[in-house]
């Protein structure tokens, strides 16, 4: 049987329909794959940072704890800083040292009596409020809780901040 000859118009119709189908088949999974981080749920984990009873008032003290991002396959625990601040009334802040400007590593400067970001000179006061330079908002806190263990107050944090920065 001879194959029917294809007109250009027919060819165009078949090709357009076919490539449309292929485009959908190729792009939908690819798009879903690329966009998946937007929809994934983080695995929440809690870490023991350490006892905080000895931390002096009004002197931010840096503690270190291994934190996993809990995202996708990642279980690697990476050291992160928790700045523990004891206020006058005895309550505790667990500040992250992540600048809200560009997420650089802020540190407590004893000269300035403020948190200083070395990247662009952002400044935060003892409570983590942004008081100078470019930062748009206060330092975030780690989501945390204090537990009583054997007569000690121990700080635990989760692998997330109390607000998105």
């Amino acid at each position: 049987m001879a194959l029917p000859t294809l007109t250009r118009r027919q060819w165009l119709g078949i090709t357009a329909a076919g490539s449309g189908l292929i485009t959908v088949m190729l792009t939908l999974p690819a798009l879903g794959f690329v966009l998946s981080p937007l929809f994934q749920r983080q695995r929440r984990e809690t870490y023991r940072v350490g006892p905080v009873d000895d931390i002096p008032t009004a002197t931010p003290t840096a503690l270190t704890v291994g934190v996993s991002s809990g995202e996708a396959y990642d279980t690697t625990r990476v050291d992160r800083t928790v700045y523990v601040v004891r206020r006058q009334d005895g309550s505790i802040l667990a500040l992250a040292n992540t600048c809200t400007h560009m997420q650089c590593n802020v540190h407590w400067s004893t000269e300035l009596n403020q948190f200083l970001c070395p990247c662009h000179g952002g400044l935060y006061d003892l409570e983590g409020r942004n008081v100078g330079g470019p930062p748009p908002s206060p330092l975030p806190q780690w989501v945390h809780e204090l537990r009583e263990e054997d007569g000690q107050t121990v700080l635990y944090i989760e692998n997330r901040y109390d607000e998105s920065i």
């Binding site: 991002s69 992160r80 560009m102 997420q103 590593n105 990247c119 000179g121 470019p134």
Partner: protein, 397 residues
């Protein structure tokens, strides 16, 4: 057949026979002739070596990059360890990595000069608008490769570059945080962010780049090298006749189509080979030699292993990124960052890319088009000023 070919190529004996055999089947001689014997403007040949030098430097990056891939491991745990080994225990590793770094620095410099040359000589005007647009996109790709490349070592410098740069898109209104999440693969900067950046650096950007280079070169061959206005001056009493004569005598790819008559063919041309290619080769050799020497003398630095909990490390941007970093200091609050970076930078980048469609005058001499030259100089001065302020701030001068 093969005797004719050996006469043309000058190859004798056995070599001539082998070449003749290949040529009969692959048409190499014809191909070489097409590639090499094109007319180019005679004046200013040294300025036109910048384009070929850019290509050579990009190929050098590809070459040294492939070698780095033989050892580098794109993993948060092992990236730094593999590079530490490459730097200190592998006899030539430090040199290869040094060449990749100094090659990148040189490439940014040369592609910048190439762009300035094209800007000053108004080579981007009709019908070469798409040469400029593709070139501008290539320039952005080179910057993208430079900044993603700086993130990969997972030393402190690389890690903090990764943190800061992936955070910048977050200031785009509405979709910014989503872009940051997609780039990082989450909120934290960790293993996923590194793998994704690695893929962007070695596949996504180079793939786009080589596609654009193909287009850029095809367009160049189609319209021919414009050169500069010096190649189009007339010296006789009857310029119209002189130009007509030029167009009649023009060799391919001239006369250029869809251009004002006086710019259709340069007054004097030479063959690309050997005249222009000779200069191209010389410039490229010098540049590669400089890169080689810098690689051996200074190499590429590798900081301490990345420490996300550090309280003492001061992140500093690469030099080519300094003006943008300084801009970040000047623009304080959230909406200003969104506005400043994305409206301002976006507008600047867009205007830069579509320059040929803005500057539509027929003037080609720099002094005859102050309406383009002055904004261009202002823009360049702003970048230099920001860079100087950035250096002053970072090094407390």
């Amino acid at each position: 057949m093969s005797t004719v070919d050996s006469e043309r190529t000058g190859l004798r004996g056995r070599a001539g026979e082998v070449y003749g055999w290949i040529d009969e089947r692959a048409g190499t001689t014809e191909l070489l002739h097409k590639g090499l014997y094109e007319a180019v403007p005679r004046k200013g040949g040294w300025a036109y070596t910048l384009g070929s030098a850019t290509l050579v430097l990009i190929l050098l990056q590809l070459f040294t990059g492939i070698f780095l891939l033989l050892e580098y491991v794109p993993s948060f745990q092992q990236a730094w360890i593999s590079l530490d080994f490459l730097q200190h225990s592998d006899r030539f590793g430090a040199a290869v990595r040094g060449m990749h770094l100094w090659g990148a620095y040189t490439l940014i410099l040369i592609i910048g000069l190439h762009m300035m040359r094209t800007f000053l000589s108004a080579s981007y005007k009709r019908p070469r608008e798409l040469n400029w647009v593709s070139g501008a996109l290539l320039f952005f790709l080179v910057l993208g490769l430079a900044v993603t490349g700086a993130m990969l070592p997972m030393d402190n410098a690389g890690y903090w570059t990764l943190v800061v740069v992936t955070n910048i898109p977050h200031y785009i209104p509405f979709i910014g945080t989503g872009i940051r999440t997609l780039w990082r693969g989450g909120d934290f900067v960790g293993p996923i962010a590194l793998t994704r950046t690695f893929a962007i650096h070695i596949w996504v950007l180079p793939f786009l780049m080589f596609a654009l280079i193909g287009g850029h070169l095809a367009l160049l061959r189609r319209h021919g090298e414009f050169g500069a206005w010096v190649n189009y001056s007339t010296s006789s009493d009857d310029p119209e006749r002189e130009i007509t004569g030029r167009i009649r005598a023009a060799e391919p790819p001239y006369p250029t189509k869809r251009i004002e008559r006086r710019y259709a063919a340069p007054r004097e041309t030479v063959n690309f080979f050997p005249f222009q290619l000779g200069k191209d080769v010389m410039v490229s050799i010098v540049l590669v030699a400089v890169i080689f020497v810098m690689a051996f003398l200074f190499g590429a630095p590798l900081d301490e292993r990345a420490d996300p909990s550090t309280l003492t490390y001061t992140p500093t941007p690469e030099w080519f990124y300094l003006p943008l970093d300084q801009l970040l200091v000047f623009i304080p609050t959230t909406w200003l960052i969104g506005f400043g970076i994305f409206v301002l930078m976006g507008a600047a980048a867009t205007l830069f890319t579509i320059l040929p469609f803005i500057d539509r005058s027929t003037h080609r001499r720099p002094l005859e088009r102050p309406e383009v030259l002055l904004p261009g100089l202002f823009f360049a001065a702003m970048i230099v000023m920001l860079a100087v302020l950035g250096i002053t701030r970072l090094y407390n001068l």
